[in-house]
Amino acid sequence: MANPPVENVTLDLRRGVIVLATLSQLSQEQYGYSLLKNLSDLGLDVDQGTLYPLLRRLEAQGLLESVWKIEEARPRRYYVISAAGRKLLPKLKEEWNSIVAVMKKMLA
């Protein structure tokens, strides 16, 4: 079987992180593009095709809330973490820290 391209492996690695990254950045409401820029500025490049559907899925799961607002003469959808999302976030952080600790040991 052919080895998967490096980009695919990297993408798989990042995919699991994006949910945590997104929830962590939405304590204040943001619209999709501003969140995308924000994540990029912090060093996590996510493409639109991944982020926007993810935001909808997280909202469907009750972890985010959204509202349309008219700004600069055009509508923007703002997302913010919900009560359920706030409850979940510390657990996800804990899990993440544990994974990082384990992986540090493994890769040392």
Binding site: Y31, G32, Y33, S34, K37, D47, Q48, G49, T50, Y52, P53, R56, W68, R74, P75, R76, R77
Partner: protein
């Protein structure tokens, strides 16, 4: 209509009605945000070239639309193993029936006048029916499973408790599917040799012996029609005998021995089919029952009819059993290829 409108509409066209407008609105908003950002960075007004670059960056409309849709299956991964098993079984049955049909057409069908007529009949009737039957069966299986997938979405095919509470101790032993059971094949050889001797050299002794009205009688069980099949019976028993000897020598089932087994079992089924469709193989006719066993006319008629039914159903069972044996051999062949040999 501008490029953004066309782009958004092309994505929306592939989305469900329920969420289309909302997603279209969000994509439009995101594209406009990207354009505004790009315009500030490049220090120039938004133009068509910039719009094209941003849309290309946003992604192919098909890919973007797909990212909003759940994975869709005609037959999903949960159902696929059952679908595949059913398909293999149905195909094996159809293939067996086609082989039986071929055998009957070659040896028991209407005589043909020319070779061209023979080949035409072979290709148009038997192979044509076989392939159209395969296609129809495959289509129907796919349709049934697609309907289950569509309307039974969310069904749990295993109970929740079963998912969690399984016990490794309950797993079946790893069976060595290739191991030959020597005793069974020795017994089979003994019966085949006895059968070959009796049916070929002492056919006149196969019947019912007894006393009726203080007279000794003998009534042959099998008719002359049955004995007309003896060359085929000898061939099949001979092949089975050879297979048994081969297996006892090899001690393990192999690809070739399984193919031979399938051929013998298919041949048995074909022979049973020929007997079913041909003249009666039963020698106990009403005349024999009356003359030899002193039955009354009504009694002889009734018993002969009953025996004919028994023979008929026996042959049908033999056909089905032959088909099942072929399928079993096929399944074992597949399992053998998948299962590593264990000591």
């Amino acid at each position: 209509m501008n490029l953004i409108d066309r782009y958004v509409r092309e994505i929306g066209r592939q989305l469900p009605q329920k969420t289309r407008a909302d997603i279209e609105k969000e994509i439009r908003s995101a594209v406009e945000d990207m354009l505004e950002d790009r315009s500030k960075k490049d220090g120039r007004a938004i133009d068509e070239e910039m719009t094209i670059a941003v849309l290309k960056e946003y992604g192919n409309p098909d890919t973007v639309a797909a990212s909003y849709l759940p994975e869709q299956y005609l037959i999903g991964p949960q159902l696929f193993p059952i679908f595949w098993l059913v398909t293999k079984i149905v195909f094996a049955v159809l293939t067996t029936l086609a082989v039986i049909g071929l055998g009957f057409a070659l040896f028991g069908g209407e005589p043909v006048t020319t070779a061209a007529e023979f080949w035409k009949g072979l290709f148009t009737d038997i192979l044509g029916e076989y392939f159209s039957g395969m296609m129809a069966a495959f289509g129907n299986i796919v349709l049934v499973f697609a309907l289950i997938q569509r309307f039974a979405t969310g069904w749990e095919f295993k109970e929740k408790d079963e998912e969690k509470d399984w016990n490794p101790r309950d797993l079946p032993d790893v069976e060595d599917v290739d191991q030959v059971k020597i005793g069974e094949h020795i017994a089979e050889i003994v019966f085949i040799v006895l059968g070959l001797i009796v049916f070929n050299f002492y056919p006149e002794y196969i019947g019912i012996y007894g006393f009726a009205d203080n007279e000794r009688f003998f009534a042959p069980i099998l008719s002359n029609a049955f004995f007309s099949y003896m060359p085929w019976i000898n061939l099949l028993w001979g092949l089975q005998f050879a297979l048994d000897v081969w297996l006892i020598q090899q001690r393990r089932w192999q690809y070739g021995s399984r193919l031979l087994l399938m051929a013998v079992k298919a041949g048995n089924a074909a022979l049973a089919y020929a007997m079913l469709k041909g003249p009666s193989i039963l020698g106990l006719t009403p005349d024999v029952l009356m003359s030899e066993m002193h039955f009354t006319a009504d009694g002889a008629q009734s018993l002969a009819m009953l025996l004919a039914q028994v023979v008929k159903w026996g042959l049908i069972i033999a056909i089905v059993a032959g088909a099942v044996d072929v399928i079993k051999a096929l399944v074992q062949m597949v399992r053998s290829q998948r299962t590593p040999v264990t000591a």
